[in-house]
Amino acid sequence: MYGAETSKRLDEAGIGPGDRIRVAKKGKVYEGVLMPRPEIGNGNILIIKQDDGYNIGVNADGAGIEKLRGKAEGMVFPKAQMRQGSSLPKVRLVYTGGTIGAKIDYKTGGVYMLTKPEELLYEVPELSDIAEISVSQTSSIASEDMSSDEWAAIANEVSRSINNGARGVIVTLGTDSMHYASAALSFMLRDLNAPVVLTGAQRSPDRGSSDAFQNLICSAHLAAKSDMAEVGICMHDSSSDGRCAFLRGTKARKMHTSRRDAFRPINAKPIAFVDADGTMAYVSSYKKADWKGKVTPLTGFERKVAFVKAFPNSDPDIIDYYAGRGYRGIVIEGMGLGHTPASTVKKELSWIPHVRSATDSGIVIGITSQCIYGRVNPNVYRNLRLLHNAGAIHCEDMLPETAYVKLGWLLGNYKPEEARAMLSRNLAGEISRRTTYNEFLI
């Protein structure tokens, strides 16, 4: 993004990004292709790609700028060629945006989302040996911009695809909120009868080291060959290439900002491992696919559900705030076994009366733990009992994010008393009755 003055000069000279230009300044001459400018720094500095491939910045102030002959250079992608009508399993790839669809951006200097999802297939030609893949697109946004509307759109597209004969579905999306989306799809896709594999990338596919290639390949294997009727996340199992893990959609969480193996199973083991060569190993029980009947998308979602964290010194008025704004549900991320402050000495810090008053007014309140691992408990300490008696529902070993999504979905589709009853009941693998020793920090 060039500054106003420089943009005007470039426009007047008929120069745009991609044009070959000559800039003369203080007796020096710089030649090359004008590059677009990222939206940072000094907007008067022209970025020129020199013939050796390097970019340099030359301040346009006091410089003569001249357009040279020659064709503007642009990005050219060979057309993606996917085999059609083969005997390979039919797999639908639903593209939504995210790093996996990121490309170098000429316009901002950063990354932008693919507008043609087929380009993704061009980057990974191996996919056409695994499945006959067709592509559809529901959005082109980063996952932090996703809302329940996008989840509903994905659920509808996935249902349609499976009901129209897709053996499995791959959904590519941004990773930051992927575990929210996987939880949402787990609840929304009723009577699921085929594998639904969510995947993405921690390194964008414009670099040769991207994890996108293997994540897509493993996801394609799962969608084309596995017999699971599950929604799950398929990403790198370790920092090394070679194997992906398939994690239950309600039991997965992004546990690292940048590592390839950021997604971990919480209070669960992976459902399966899959190697880049297609070898699969199932390590947990799962619902079998039969590809019979119809998948029904139940996509209602109550946005007036809040997600709040209790912490030392936290102001319990936050509950009243949401109650006053018409919120119908609140998931509290409590401390330890599910505590909120409940002091009878420092009464102003106690959440108990606020929770009581909220539940009395019909708001559903769920309790989870910021420990992430383990199960909340309503009985061990007096303060836990107080919270329980105030009408809050303890969400067992459910992930806080999953509980948030579940409550939004329940309130969007069921009556409040039904939602209340269903919150602590397992619907889509989000609650397990047993937690085993080996499910911690894996």
Partner: protein, 630 residues
């Protein structure tokens, strides 16, 4: 024989340019806070395995060199130690901001090369998929262009100065992939490129020396093996640009260049000869495993018995040419073999070789020739190995053979073979321009007026440094030697101590070290801190010059505390009244007179390491005078 002077090189269209890479001595790496100083011995905490693939560059095209590496289907194994590498180095975390200390040093070097510094620096990614960068690219930024350097009276154009990150070093090639040590990744590096008109191999060597000197003058150059690397680009008229990497010894740089010229000349001759033969052609790979089921050739029978195959490729019109020497002990067949090896086989066998060398049974080679349709004046090659490797190798080999007809010289990156023959071997195709795209994780850096002023003020200046050394050392010869020495920076540190004997330090680092190295002492292993303590002990008058040498010998064998060595070996200097006592005893033993030279010899033979010759002379003169007066 023609004299190979500058006019000869002009006549053959000789082009030669240098790329000098120097690691910078900064506290931290270029894009993270790991130490930039390599230390040996830390065990790796983890091993990470990755694959890489060639992806479209900024303008959409996939680089030739990058796709070549991918065809090799390599797995890369990165050994990671907590002390030397963090998540940034193994491509698991975005880069932190560019190291300001490294940038200041790079800008200062740019100024020293009289280069034009861009108004804004634009960090780029250079696509590299040979595994040497876990991210599959190297971060590199142009910090200077269009500069020059005076080298022995001629002006050498410096086209560019770059600030980039060091890559990983290959530890070994294992069965299941290439093993890299990640400690090196991300150490700041400056690259200095000259223009390709260095004129002669000799001039190329002089220029490399001069650039090395200027870099050391900054005080920001790392010392030690591998901290500076010289790549040379060479071409001749009718040839092609070839980049030679991995030159370990600057002294032989000119010889490598001379051999590359010879190689290109011979390849051009071969091309001309092949174009004279109307049928020059390269056939397809044919599976002729069945002809060798009972062969006595080990490499073939081993391949077959482990389930592999034998492929043959007919080379029409190549008869006699595969065996032609193009460089000392290297033939066209060797070049083709180097390509085949990239496919994962051990090499090739070709029809210009003596079949008895391999142990072929009579008739085997003839049967192969027949099956491949190779007749009189033709040649063929055989490739044995695992099925997939053999076919990949065959496609690489036939690509190289076709190039002998069409191109003559192939634009390549070649590795120096350090076996005293000064020859090179194929590494990968020369990288093209599409390797570059912007590093979007790092922001452009506008070069401020104060950054420029600081760079100019700290720029290395050869003339000023020379004048400084002259006044310190009082000897042109010593100053000349010191300015070119890799130990200049060390000298400056040691000579910077108060009261230091600069000429003695210079002489020790230059002459004494060379002498001792020749005698088998590993003086280069002595830590700089020890040397500093040693020269301090000398300048404080606590040890003699002879003791300094003795302690150096001891340190080169085993590191120890200087004071402990002095005590244990009885190396304290005997001076003042102590020395006077020795002199008086000797004078008395000699009957109060005697030959002065003989007395000195007697004292020095007993106390060589503890007595300073000058002081002894002075005391002798004084005592002699006293004696006479008495």
């Amino acid at each position: 024989m023609e004299v190979k002077d500058v006019s000869y090189y002009r006549r053959i269209g000789f082009l030669c340019g240098l790329e000098i890479h120097q690691r910078l001595a900064t506290a931290e790496k270029l894009f993270c806070s790991c130490t930039a100083t390599l230390q040996q011995g830390e065990l790796p905490a983890a091993e990470v395995r990755r694959r890489q693939r060639a992806v479209a560059g900024e303008l959409g095209a996939v680089d030739r060199a990058a796709s070549f590496e991918q065809e090799k289907e390599q797995q890369f194994i990165y050994r990671v130690s907590d002390g030397h590498a963090c998540l940034v180095d193994i491509d698991e975390e975005p880069p932190h901001s560019l190291n300001a200390e490294a940038m200041a040093a790079a800008l200062s070097i740019s100024c020293g090369m009289h280069a034009d510094i861009p108004d804004e620096l634009e960090p780029m990614r250079k696509l590299v998929v040979d595994g040497s960068n876990p991210s599959a690219f190297q971060r590199t930024t142009k910090v200077g262009m269009d500069g020059y350097l005076n080298v022995n009276g001629t002006r050498v154009a410096i086209t560019s100065v770059f600030l980039e990150e060091e890559s990983a070093g290959i530890e070994r090639r294992a069965e299941d992939g290439v093993v890299y040590d990640t400690g090196r990744i991300g150490i700041p590096l400056v690259e200095i490129d000259t223009d390709p008109h260095l004129g002669s191999p000799e001039k190329a060597k002089e220029t490399a020396l001069a650039i090395g000197t200027l870099l050391r003058l900054t005080g920001k150059a790392q010392r030690g093996i591998g901290t500076i690397r010289q790549d040379v680009n060479v071409s001749i008229m009718g040839g092609a640009r070839v980049e030679i990497k991995g030159l370990q010894d600057l002294d032989s740089l000119d010889k490598f260049v001379e051999n590359e010229v010879l190689r290109q000349q011979n390849l051009v001759k071969i091309k001309e000869e092949l174009s004279g033969r109307k049928n020059a052609s390269v056939g397809g790979a044919v599976d002729i495993t069945h002809l060798f089921t009972s062969t006595g050739v080990k490499i073939i029978s081993n391949a077959i018995s482990s389930g592999g195959i034998v492929l043959g490729i007919a080379l029409g019109g190549f008869g006699g040419i595969l065996g032609r020497e193009i460089n000392p002990e290297r033939r066209l067949g060797t070049e083709i073999s180097d390509y085949a090896k990239m496919g994962g086989v051990n090499g090739i066998i070709h029809s210009d070789e003596d079949p008895r060398k391999y142990g072929f049974r009579p008739g085997e080679m003839e049967a192969a020739a027949k099956a491949l349709g190779a007749g009189e004046g033709d040649a063929f090659i055989l490739i044995a190995g695992r099925r997939d490797s053999a076919y990949t190798a065959a496609s690489f080999a036939s690509e190289r053979a076709k190039a002998a007809i069409g191109l003559g010289v192939v634009p390549e990156t070649r590795a120096a073979v350090n076996n005293n023959m000064h020859t090179t071997k194929f590494m990968r195709p020369l990288a093209g321009r599409s390797r570059m795209y912007p590093e979007t994780d790092a922001t452009p850096i506008e070069v401020s007026g104060s950054m420029l002023a600081e760079a100019r003020a700290s720029a290395p200046d050869l003339d000023a440094a020379m004048a400084g050394l002259m006044s310190e050392l009082k000897s042109r010869a010593l100053a000349d030697q010191m300015i070119m020495s890799p130990r200049l920076q060390l000298y400056r540190e040691l000579a910077g101590e108060a009261g230091s004997d600069k000429a003695f330090i210079a002489n020790t680092l230059l002459q004494k070290f060379t002498e001792m190295r020749r005698a088998g002492c590993n003086v280069d292993a002595i830590p700089a801190g020890r040397l500093s303590g040693l020269f301090k002990a000398h300048s404080e008058g606590r040890i003699t010059k002879n003791a300094v040498e003795e302690i150096l010998k001891s340190l080169s064998e085993r590191d120890a505390d200087i004071e402990d060595i002095i005590k244990a070996r009885g190396l304290s200097r005997v001076t003042g009244s102590g020395l006077r006592k020795i002199v008086l005893e000797e004078l008395e033993a000699a009957g109060g007179g005697g030959n002065r030279g003989a007395i000195i010899n007697r004292i020095m033979s007993k106390h060589r390491l503890n007595v300073d010759g000058d002081e002894l002379n002075r005391i002798l003169s004084e005592e002699g005078r006293h004696g006479k007066e008495a």
